[in-house]
Protein backbone atom coordinates (compact mmCIF):
# COMPACT_ATOMS: atom_id res chain seq x y z
CA UNK A 1 0.00 0.00 0.00
CA UNK A 2 0.95 3.65 -0.20
CA UNK A 3 3.40 4.96 2.36
CA UNK A 4 3.63 8.34 4.05
CA UNK A 5 3.86 11.14 1.52
CA UNK A 6 5.08 14.68 2.02
CA UNK A 7 4.94 17.78 -0.10
CA UNK A 8 6.71 19.69 -1.35
CA UNK A 9 9.87 17.62 -1.65
CA UNK A 10 11.97 20.75 -1.62
CA UNK A 11 11.18 24.31 -0.61
CA UNK A 12 13.38 27.37 -0.96
CA UNK A 13 12.10 30.50 0.69
CA UNK A 14 13.32 33.89 1.76
CA UNK A 15 13.87 34.82 5.35
CA UNK A 16 10.71 36.23 6.87
CA UNK A 17 8.27 34.37 4.64
CA UNK A 18 5.77 31.80 5.89
CA UNK A 19 5.87 28.19 4.68
CA UNK A 20 3.44 25.28 4.87
CA UNK A 21 4.57 21.67 4.77
CA UNK A 22 2.09 18.89 4.16
CA UNK A 23 1.99 15.28 5.33
CA UNK A 24 -0.33 12.51 4.13
CA UNK A 25 -0.08 9.59 6.55
CA UNK A 26 -0.75 5.95 5.78
CA UNK A 27 -4.49 5.42 5.51
CA UNK A 28 -6.01 4.36 8.82
CA UNK A 29 -3.06 5.45 10.95
CA UNK A 30 -4.30 7.45 13.90
CA UNK A 31 -0.92 8.62 15.21
CA UNK A 32 1.15 11.20 13.33
CA UNK A 33 4.50 12.73 14.21
CA UNK A 34 6.63 15.59 12.92
CA UNK A 35 10.40 15.58 13.28
CA UNK A 36 13.15 17.91 12.12
CA UNK A 37 16.53 16.64 10.90
CA UNK A 38 19.42 19.08 10.84
CA UNK A 39 23.03 18.41 9.98
CA UNK A 40 24.79 17.13 13.08
CA UNK A 41 21.63 17.24 15.18
CA UNK A 42 19.88 14.02 14.28
CA UNK A 43 16.11 13.80 14.34
CA UNK A 44 14.37 16.14 16.75
CA UNK A 45 10.79 15.45 17.80
CA UNK A 46 8.46 18.36 17.12
CA UNK A 47 4.85 17.30 17.72
CA UNK A 48 2.60 14.24 18.04
CA UNK A 49 -1.02 13.94 16.94
CA UNK A 50 -3.53 11.30 18.01
CA UNK A 51 -6.44 11.80 15.70
CA UNK A 52 -6.87 15.56 15.37
CA UNK A 53 -5.55 16.32 18.85
CA UNK A 54 -1.94 17.15 19.70
CA UNK A 55 -1.26 15.83 23.21
CA UNK A 56 2.48 16.50 22.90
CA UNK A 57 3.75 19.71 21.33
CA UNK A 58 6.84 19.83 23.49
CA UNK A 59 9.31 19.80 20.59
CA UNK A 60 8.04 22.87 18.74
CA UNK A 61 11.03 25.24 18.95
CA UNK A 62 9.13 28.52 19.06
CA UNK A 63 5.72 30.07 18.61
CA UNK A 64 6.56 30.56 14.94
CA UNK A 65 5.92 26.86 14.51
CA UNK A 66 2.41 25.41 14.50
CA UNK A 67 0.75 22.30 13.18
CA UNK A 68 -2.73 21.03 12.65
CA UNK A 69 -4.37 17.82 11.55
CA UNK A 70 -7.78 17.58 10.00
CA UNK A 71 -10.12 14.64 9.48
CA UNK A 72 -7.69 12.44 11.35
CA UNK A 73 -5.59 12.35 8.22
CA UNK A 74 -3.61 15.14 6.53
CA UNK A 75 -1.37 17.32 8.66
CA UNK A 76 0.17 20.69 7.93
CA UNK A 77 3.24 22.13 9.65
CA UNK A 78 3.42 25.92 9.34
CA UNK A 79 6.51 28.00 10.00
CA UNK A 80 5.90 31.72 10.19
CA UNK A 81 8.53 34.39 9.58
CA UNK A 82 11.13 31.80 8.62
CA UNK A 83 14.70 32.17 9.82
CA UNK A 84 17.88 30.70 8.36
CA UNK A 85 18.17 28.34 11.33
CA UNK A 86 14.88 26.77 10.24
CA UNK A 87 16.68 25.23 7.26
CA UNK A 88 16.44 21.46 7.72
CA UNK A 89 14.66 18.35 6.52
CA UNK A 90 11.19 18.09 8.03
CA UNK A 91 10.05 14.49 8.38
CA UNK A 92 6.59 13.19 9.04
CA UNK A 93 5.83 9.71 10.39
CA UNK A 94 2.66 7.83 11.13
CA UNK A 95 1.81 4.73 13.12
CA UNK A 96 -1.30 2.61 13.43
CA UNK A 97 -2.17 3.59 16.97
CA UNK A 98 0.92 5.01 18.64
CA UNK A 99 1.62 3.34 21.96
CA UNK A 100 -1.12 0.96 22.96
CA UNK A 101 -1.19 -1.39 25.92
CA UNK A 102 2.51 -0.96 26.50
CA UNK A 103 3.48 -1.93 22.96
CA UNK A 104 4.91 0.67 20.63
CA UNK A 105 3.68 0.64 17.07
CA UNK A 106 6.20 1.10 14.29
CA UNK A 107 6.55 4.65 13.02
CA UNK A 108 6.69 4.82 9.22
CA UNK A 109 8.49 7.84 7.86
CA UNK A 110 7.89 9.87 4.74
CA UNK A 111 10.73 11.06 2.49
CA UNK A 112 10.79 14.52 4.07
CA UNK A 113 10.61 18.12 2.89
CA UNK A 114 13.95 19.84 2.46
CA UNK A 115 13.55 23.46 3.52
CA UNK A 116 16.16 26.05 2.69
CA UNK A 117 15.73 29.57 4.04
CA UNK A 118 17.87 32.13 2.26
Amino acid sequence: GAGVSQSPSNKVTEKGKDVELRCDPISGHTALYWYRQSLGQGLEFLIYFQGNSAPDKSGLPSDRFSAERTGGSVSTLTIQRTQQEDSAVYLCASSRTGTSGGARETQYFGPGTRLLVL
Binding site: G42, L43, D56, G98, A103, R104
Partner: protein
Protein backbone atom coordinates in the same frame (compact mmCIF):
# COMPACT_ATOMS: atom_id res chain seq x y z
CA UNK B 1 24.26 16.43 27.21
CA UNK B 2 21.99 14.75 24.69
CA UNK B 3 19.75 11.99 26.04
CA UNK B 4 20.99 9.66 23.28
CA UNK B 5 24.62 9.89 22.17
CA UNK B 6 25.90 8.31 18.97
CA UNK B 7 29.26 8.50 17.25
CA UNK B 8 28.55 10.18 13.89
CA UNK B 9 31.40 8.40 12.12
CA UNK B 10 31.85 8.19 9.21
CA UNK B 11 32.66 4.49 9.38
CA UNK B 12 34.08 2.58 6.41
CA UNK B 13 34.57 -1.18 6.43
CA UNK B 14 35.31 -3.77 3.71
CA UNK B 15 32.54 -5.98 2.37
CA UNK B 16 31.99 -9.06 4.47
CA UNK B 17 33.23 -7.51 7.71
CA UNK B 18 31.25 -7.40 10.94
CA UNK B 19 30.02 -3.91 11.74
CA UNK B 20 29.41 -2.69 15.28
CA UNK B 21 27.35 0.45 15.85
CA UNK B 22 26.80 1.83 19.32
CA UNK B 23 24.81 4.37 21.29
CA UNK B 24 24.55 5.37 24.91
CA UNK B 25 21.55 6.93 26.60
CA UNK B 26 21.02 8.74 29.87
CA UNK B 27 17.27 8.54 30.56
CA UNK B 28 16.49 5.61 32.87
CA UNK B 29 12.83 5.78 31.81
CA UNK B 30 13.65 4.58 28.30
CA UNK B 31 12.16 1.14 27.68
CA UNK B 32 11.99 0.95 23.89
CA UNK B 33 15.05 0.86 21.69
CA UNK B 34 15.10 1.01 17.93
CA UNK B 35 17.56 1.13 15.10
CA UNK B 36 16.57 2.93 11.92
CA UNK B 37 18.37 2.85 8.58
CA UNK B 38 18.30 5.92 6.38
CA UNK B 39 19.46 5.97 2.80
CA UNK B 40 20.48 9.26 1.22
CA UNK B 41 17.53 11.59 0.62
CA UNK B 42 15.05 9.06 2.03
CA UNK B 43 13.14 8.82 5.27
CA UNK B 44 14.35 6.49 8.04
CA UNK B 45 13.02 2.92 8.03
CA UNK B 46 12.77 0.73 11.10
CA UNK B 47 15.40 -1.99 11.16
CA UNK B 48 15.26 -3.46 14.67
CA UNK B 49 13.04 -2.93 17.70
CA UNK B 50 13.83 -4.14 21.22
CA UNK B 51 11.84 -3.76 24.40
CA UNK B 52 13.94 -3.53 27.58
CA UNK B 53 17.24 -5.43 27.88
CA UNK B 54 18.38 -8.33 25.77
CA UNK B 55 19.31 -9.40 22.29
CA UNK B 56 17.27 -9.62 19.15
CA UNK B 57 18.40 -11.20 15.92
CA UNK B 58 16.98 -10.77 12.43
CA UNK B 59 18.98 -12.27 9.62
CA UNK B 60 22.37 -10.56 9.49
CA UNK B 61 21.35 -7.97 12.10
CA UNK B 62 21.58 -8.29 15.88
CA UNK B 63 20.45 -5.61 18.32
CA UNK B 64 21.64 -5.61 21.93
CA UNK B 65 20.44 -3.52 24.83
CA UNK B 66 22.21 -3.38 28.19
CA UNK B 67 20.08 -1.27 30.50
CA UNK B 68 22.55 -1.57 33.38
CA UNK B 69 25.15 0.35 31.37
CA UNK B 70 22.63 2.22 29.19
CA UNK B 71 24.30 0.90 26.08
CA UNK B 72 22.65 0.07 22.74
CA UNK B 73 24.39 -1.85 19.97
CA UNK B 74 23.67 -3.00 16.43
CA UNK B 75 25.80 -5.66 14.78
CA UNK B 76 25.76 -6.34 11.06
CA UNK B 77 27.30 -9.63 9.93
CA UNK B 78 28.58 -10.30 6.40
CA UNK B 79 28.19 -6.62 5.54
CA UNK B 80 27.12 -5.78 1.99
CA UNK B 81 27.52 -2.60 -0.09
CA UNK B 82 23.72 -2.23 0.11
CA UNK B 83 24.13 -1.75 3.88
CA UNK B 84 25.80 1.60 3.19
CA UNK B 85 23.52 4.12 4.86
CA UNK B 86 23.13 6.22 7.98
CA UNK B 87 22.06 4.24 11.04
CA UNK B 88 20.06 6.00 13.73
CA UNK B 89 19.48 4.66 17.22
CA UNK B 90 16.40 5.85 19.08
CA UNK B 91 14.78 5.33 22.46
CA UNK B 92 11.43 6.00 24.04
CA UNK B 93 9.70 5.73 27.38
CA UNK B 94 6.58 3.83 28.36
CA UNK B 95 3.43 5.84 27.78
CA UNK B 96 5.38 8.56 25.99
CA UNK B 97 4.99 8.88 22.24
CA UNK B 98 8.16 10.90 21.78
CA UNK B 99 11.20 9.12 20.35
CA UNK B 100 14.66 10.50 21.04
CA UNK B 101 17.22 9.88 18.33
CA UNK B 102 20.98 9.81 18.18
CA UNK B 103 22.69 11.90 15.53
CA UNK B 104 23.23 8.87 13.28
CA UNK B 105 26.34 6.99 12.13
CA UNK B 106 27.19 7.15 8.45
CA UNK B 107 28.35 3.70 7.30
CA UNK B 108 30.06 2.84 4.02
CA UNK B 109 30.73 -0.78 2.99
CA UNK B 110 33.59 -0.92 0.52
CA UNK B 111 33.24 -3.62 -2.20
Amino acid sequence: QKEVEQDPGPLSVPEGAIVSLNCTYSNSAFQYFMWYRQYSRKGPELLMYTYSSGNKEDGRFTAQVDKSSKYISLFIRDSQPSDSATYLCSSGGFGNEKLTFGTGTRLTIIP
